[in-house]
């Protein structure tokens, strides 16, 4: 099917069924991609986007893990944090964008904050959920073995909550990537999202399609990497348990 579609694309472009403004020829896209790679522009923009995502995701995930763990481990903390957290997370990430632009401007901080925010919410939610759902029996085993709080956490709670924590991290990373593209479309002068909006302004769809492909490929790579890390950790989980 993908092959069929590609063939259809080539044929329709060659026969001129669709104008270039609707769908550029694959050859054009490839040519543009070659030019952008050769000039180093594509790589530079990709690097910038990746740096923003990794900074934002690292910060957001770290805070999310801490807040999520606090909610998952202590009922008192949960009672205090849950409601405000819920209310704030009901506002779509992009709703905060205009506010943040007024507060911090449109520089790097804006991107990192928004990306961190979008990673934070799912990570915190899933971590809290996972830790709360650790079976009672497992906790009791720990109590019988008179584990101190630290080994209780590292030997029982974290390994048992790991799948859930990973779901959160995965979702967080996917959200970070989406948010990155959104922020770069909205307020940026470099990066993949900017490349796209620039292509749109010039009515150069080949640039837009090229950036789209790169965005997709990176999304796939991020997902795949996290999947590998997860499988690694699963093995460790089995060993500790």
């Amino acid at each position: 099917m993908p092959v069929l579609l590609l063939v259809l694309w080539v044929v329709s472009a060659r026969e001129g069924w669709l104008t270039e403004q609707i769908l550029p020829e694959p050859r054009d896209v490839l040519q543009t991609a070659r030019d952008y790679v050769a000039s180093g522009e594509l790589l530079a923009d990709t690097a910038i986007s990746l740096r923003r995502v990794s900074e934002g995701f690292a910060i957001g995930a770290a805070i999310g893990l801490v807040i999520g763990a606090a909610q998952g481990l202590s009922q008192g903390a949960r009672a205090i944090v849950e409601l405000p957290f819920f209310v704030i997370s009901q506002v779509p990430v992009l709703g905060w964008l205009p506010l943040l632009i007024l507060l911090v401007g449109i520089d790097e901080e804006l991107k990192v904050i928004v990306i961190a925010w979008s990673a934070f919410v799912p990570v915190a939610l899933n971590t809290a959920q996972g830790m709360r759902d650790v079976p009672r029996t497992l906790r009791e085993v720990g109590q019988v073995l008179t584990f101190d709080p630290w080994s209780m956490l590292s030997r029982i709670i974290v390994p048992a909550a790991l799948p859930s924590i990973f779901t959160g991290l995965r979702e967080g990373l996917a959200h970070s990537w989406q948010t990155l593209v959104a922020v770069e479309l909205f307020a940026s002068s470099e990066g993949l999202g900017y490349l796209m909006s620039w292509g749109r302004q010039l009515f150069q769809l080949d640039i837009v399609v090229m950036a789209l492909v790169v965005v997709g490929a990176i999304g796939l790579a991020l997902n795949w990497t996290l999947g590998r890390v997860e499988r690694r950790l699963r093995r460790w989980q089995v060993q500790t348990a």
């Binding site: 009672a79 997370s89 992009l94 964008l97 593209v181 796209m196 009515f203 769809l205």
Partner: protein, 253 residues
């Protein structure tokens, strides 16, 4: 559930109250610049003003209309596609990889392309919202339809159900819990996409447009008022979704 010591009811309100108090104090004592952080009552007054005299009702209606048309198109296309993928081997083989490839592209990356195809006005916005709502509906329906127990499928075959009857009496009810999960996240995505479309595409009445207006004219109270409204709407959506879900599942059971 194990009875646990009941928590004092004020606990959940602790942080909001502290934040509000600090906010009020900061603006009273003049620690904060009112242009950057208007006092809470100014924000509330703005919400009130916008609802009673300003155009908030119009904007809200415009956003909701846009969001719900997108959601309707996207979710129904998504459920249909999901059923197709889950029930037909051939379709899964042909379209599955394509859909998975599409999923890898971050949602907002479609904005430039869609806006060139459909324009930046209403059509482009709704196309984007539909696209956003479609993906979660497809994924979950697909999973649900694939996991329908073999016995049910065989029973339907014995009863010589037609294709439509099969979908109506076996596939849809069987996949319902998954479909509902999908619809719920379709709702969230559609709403996010509505705000996104209003921020990124042509200016038109809508909450996103008001947010933008507030930012461009540096009216912090308007921006904060819009955020308050967005939060309230989000809460209302998730309440409605939870209630609707419970109803549907009960009817099925």
């Amino acid at each position: 559930m194990i009875p646990r010591p009941s928590l004092p009811p004020w606990r959940p309100l602790l942080i909001p109250l502290i934040v509000l108090a600090l906010w009020e104090l900061a603006s009273r004592a003049g620690w904060s610049d009112a242009r950057f952080l208007p006092p809470p009552e100014a924000v509330l007054r703005r919400v009130w003003f916008e609802t009673t005299q300003g155009g908030l009702a119009t904007d809200l209606a415009a956003s909701l209309r846009r969001g719900s048309s997108g959601l309707l198109i996207g979710a129904s296309a998504g459920v249909a596609l999901g059923l197709l993928l889950g029930l037909s081997r051939v379709a899964e083989r042909l379209l599955g990889p394509l859909f998975l490839a599409y999923r890898q592209v971050a949602l907002f990356a479609w904005v430039p392309l869609l806006s060139m195809w459909f324009g930046g006005a209403e059509a482009g916005k709704i196309a984007f919202i539909s696209l956003a709502a479609m993906a979660p509906a497809v994924v979950n329906t697909w999973r649900g339809a694939r996991d329908i127990p073999r016995a049910h499928v065989e029973l339907a075959a014995v009863l010589t159900f037609g294709r439509l009857d099969f979908i109506r009496f076996v596939a849809l009810p069987g996949a319902l819990p998954f479909i509902l999960v999908g619809l719920r996240s379709a709702l969230i995505y559609a709403w996010l996409a509505t705000i996104g479309a209003e921020l990124f595409l042509n200016i038109a009445p809508g909450l996103g447009g008001r947010l933008n207006e507030g930012r461009e004219t540096f009216q912090m109270d308007l921006v904060l008022a819009c955020i308050v409204v967005l939060g309230a709407l989000g809460i209302a959506f998730s309440r409605c979704a939870a209630i609707g879900e419970a109803r549907l599942l009960r009817r099925r059971g």
